[in-house]
């Protein structure tokens, strides 16, 4: 399982570390602004149609989730009828086993890959590399990450934490690049070196944005064209398909594609959207001769018919990341999961449980911007909170906080306890504030309070209470009448 990474660090350590990297922090904020602004313009242009598309996509995806076994079966049977070789992977390990088997049967040792979250999820690259197979990431950003040995900081533009100078240096050291740091020049260098690799690779590995049940087709949305290269030239193709990628028919692809690029990067369409139905046909001279589809569950079925079933609608557009007030500061690296941001919290905790995620589910202010922007209306912030509720119910919360919340629960449910606490608390607080109106920085040693006062002042309890004033006020009103 490699959904989580950097698990030896706490969320707080990762965040503190990340905030020191001003370039990364700014880069992610800028990306958010750019995507968010462009998206906003396109949504406006679509008028009422946007909300209708959202609702339609929601009903289509819900229908598939409710009948997931039927649609998985229909997709599998139709893909097989198209001539694809099916591999069924209830778990990620099953998927790895199947892929290794394909490589072994072909005696293959050289593969190109276009970005696929499913392969990240099972740690495919690491496993293949261990067995001596060379696997080359062909998406520019993924190639940068692979060459640098780094992890994605953004779901759509994953290498944004490197500036052009750093990228230039990486390729100078590792690939003999001798050009400038101009993005165009570096990109065209990548075009040149990767072209040959696409042509020479024995196996192409790719993901699938949506799988069509009625036709057994898989699809791929890309801008760079690396996905097309991967599915045009290697003789053997391996497609990773998650069981939550299925749409019922071709018509629903239009709905999904009307929402996906707009939500992801603020574009009406990506440069390429390909719909693949089986290996190359008779008389065709390019395209794969053999298509293997690895249909993988890896814990997704547990979300169906559960409090998290809405999450199965997710199409991984990243719109929730692009609006999240937390993500923009802590970046993809803060979460410690390959699925970052609001959707990442829901999905990660849903797939791996609560033991190893540290405080990830609490890295959210529950502001609801994610829910508002989600193209398939997933109540993301409610689901994040549901994870918190489950964490407390299962006793996976920090033991130290329990008495604090119990005390709050007692105070908030009993006006006498509350009044007493206020009476005791007011002078104490005033004292800690040295007679001022607010607790300042020098109070950042006090447990619990320091959480706040390390970054902000905290106004003291008032010496006059509103309820006391109100009682007096009503008395005067009564007296006046």
């Amino acid at each position: 399982m490699s959904i989580l990474y950097n698990t030896d660090e706490t969320l707080r350590e990762r965040v503190t570390e990340g905030l020191k990297d001003e370039f990364k922090h700014n880069a992610i904020r800028t990306a958010q602004e750019v995507f968010y602004t462009k998206r906003g313009e396109l949504v406006k242009e679509m008028g009422i149609g946007w909300q209708q598309l959202r609702m339609h996509a929601t009903e289509v995806r819900n229908h598939v989730t409710d009948n997931l076994d039927y649609y998985v079966k229909q997709f599998a049977e139709n893909a097989e009828a198209n001539g694809c070789i099916m591999h069924y992977a209830p778990t990620g390990d099953d998927a790895l086993w199947e892929v290794l088997d394909i490589f072994e049967k072909h005696g293959a040792s050289y593969a190109v890959k276009s970005k696929s979250m499913m392969t990240e999820e099972v740690g495919l690259n690491e496993v293949l590399e261990e067995t001596g197979i060379t696997i080359i990431e062909t998406d520019c950003a993924e190639n940068i990450l692979q060459t640098a040995g780094s992890k994605p900081s953004h779901i759509v533009v994953p290498a944004l934490h490197f500036d052009r100078e750093a990228i230039m240096k990486i390729y100078k050291e590792k690939r003999g690049y001798d050009g400038s740091s101009v993005p165009e020049e570096i990109t065209h260098f990548l075009r040149k070196i990767l072209r040959k690799e696409f042509m020479d690779a024995e196996v192409g590995i790719r993901g699938c944005n949506f799988a069509v049940a009625s036709t057994g087709s898989v699809t791929l949305v890309t801008n760079e064209g690396n996905g097309r290269m991967v599915d045009s030239f290697p003789k053997v193709q391996i497609v990773f398909v998650g069981i939550d990628r299925i749409v019922p028919d071709l018509e629903s692809l239009d709905t999904m594609l009307a929402l996906l690029p707009r939500s992801a990067v603020g574009a009406k369409m990506t440069a390429y959207f390909s719909l693949d139905s089986g290996p190359r046909g008779a008389g065709e001279v390019d395209g794969p001769e053999e298509v293997h589809i690895v249909l993988m569950d890896n814990g997704r079925h547990t979300l169906a018919n559960s409090e998290f079933s809405d999450m199965l609608r997710c199409m991984r557009c990243g719109a929730c990341l692009n609006i999240c007030p937390v993500y923009r500061h802590i970046t993809g690296h803060g979460y410690g999961s390959i699925y970052p941001g609001p959707m990442g919290i829901v999905l990660t905790a849903g797939l791996v449980g609560y033991d190893d995620i540290d405080s990830m589910a609490f890295a959210c202010s529950l502001c609801g911007a994610c829910t508002e922007h989600c193209p398939v209306s997933i109540p993301i912030h409610d689901l994040i909170r549901q994870h918190r509720i489950n964490i407390v119910e299962q006793g996976k919360n920090h033991a130290i906080e329990v008495p604090i919340f119990k005390a709050l629960a007692l105070m908030w449910s009993n006006v006498d306890v509350y009044n007493y606490a206020m009476k005791m608390g007011t002078p104490v607080m005033k004292k800690l504030a040295h007679g001022e109106d607010a607790l300042a920085k020098d109070s950042a040693w006090i447990p619990v309070v320091k959480g706040w006062t390390s970054t902000r002042d905290f106004d003291c309890l008032s010496e006059t209470r509103f309820r006391t004033w109100f009682k007096e006020h009503k008395k005067q009103q009564g007296g006046g009448k």
């Binding site: 880069a27 750019v34 008028g47 009422i48 209708q52 339609h56 229908h63 009948n67 076994d69 079966k73 198209n82 591999h87 992977a89 209830p90 099953d94 086993w97 062909t138 520019c140 950003a141 940068i144 533009v157 052009r164 993005p183 990109t187 065209h188 075009r191 990767l194 072209r195 042509m199 801008n223 760079e224 064209g225 290269m229 045009s232 030239f233 069981i243 019922p248 071709l250 018509e251 692809l253 239009d254 709905t255 009307a258 574009a267 369409m269 440069a271 390429y272 390909s274 719909l275 693949d276 139905s277 190359r280 008389g283 065709e284 001279v285 390019d286 395209g287 079925h301 547990t302 018919n305």
Partner: protein
């Protein structure tokens, strides 16, 4: 349980169980959908859709030329006649094999261009040589099966007469599209495929502009793995 070699049932059983289904349904009807989204193309005439197609294409940095059917060969030839974009050097062309191109006299017109040193017409009998030609070609010329007005997209199915390489490997992709085949949205294109009998082409590619990335500092760069330039020739 041992790894690998799992059956479809091994995959389906836990899903059915989670859904509290005793068996996987034999058949599931699609419900009557509650929402029929309004689209910007609704109510537009055929002529308006052609205009929209052209203007949307230009927004995604596609150069669009419009011509009459009898001008097709001259129009495409005038593009490749400029040689390699920016440098004007001599170029080679790979072209889909298509009755309509032959009728229009396109192949001869291309070969007649001074700056065109070689024209390869896709021929399944030549096998890999087609791809090799595309690999080094400056121009790849295809006949799109449809255009999509909403997004300025061309629809490019793969076939024995036109491989994937033609619209992918050359530096410039020229897509010829009949105005009569321009559809409002992807929906009508998909409906047509859904209604048609028989197997879908092994690939249908929806192409919207040049290959591009913004992976380095969000700076847009065109010409990553696919064509750096895309031109449409709309035949009216």
């Amino acid at each position: 349980m041992a790894l690998g070699n799992k059956s479809l049932s091994d995959l389906l059983n836990p899903i059915s169980k989670q859904l509290e289904h005793d068996v996987v349904a034999e058949h599931v009807d699609l419900p009557e959908w509650e929402f029929v989204p309004w689209r910007v193309t609704d109510g537009k005439s055929a002529a308006e859709l052609v205009d929209m197609f052209a203007s949307e294409a230009e927004k995604i940095r596609v150069q669009v030329k419009r011509c009459k059917r009898d001008e097709l060969a001259a129009c495409v030839a005038s593009i490749v006649g400029e040689g390699v974009p920016e440098t004007g050097e001599a170029c080679t062309v790979v072209c889909a094999s298509d009755e309509r191109f032959a009728t229009a006299g396109l192949y001869d017109a291309l070969a007649a261009e001074e700056k065109v040193s070689d024209v390869t017409v896709w021929d399944e009998a030549k096998g890999q040589a087609n791809v090799d030609a595309a690999y080094v070609a400056t121009y790849g010329v295809t006949y799109a099966s449809a255009g999509i007005a909403e997004t300025g997209t061309v629809v490019q199915p793969t076939s024995p007469a036109c491989g994937r390489a033609v619209s992918l490997l050359p530096l410039v992709h020229i897509a010829v599209v009949d105005a009569a085949t321009i559809e409002p949205t992807m929906l009508t294109v998909m409906k047509a495929y859904a209604d048609a009998d028989g197997k879908l082409p092994s690939q249908i590619c929806f192409i919207s502009g040049p290959s591009a990335t913004a992976d380095i500092e969000l700076v847009r760069v065109e010409g990553v793995h696919g064509p750096m330039y895309v031109r449409y020739v709309v035949v009216e």
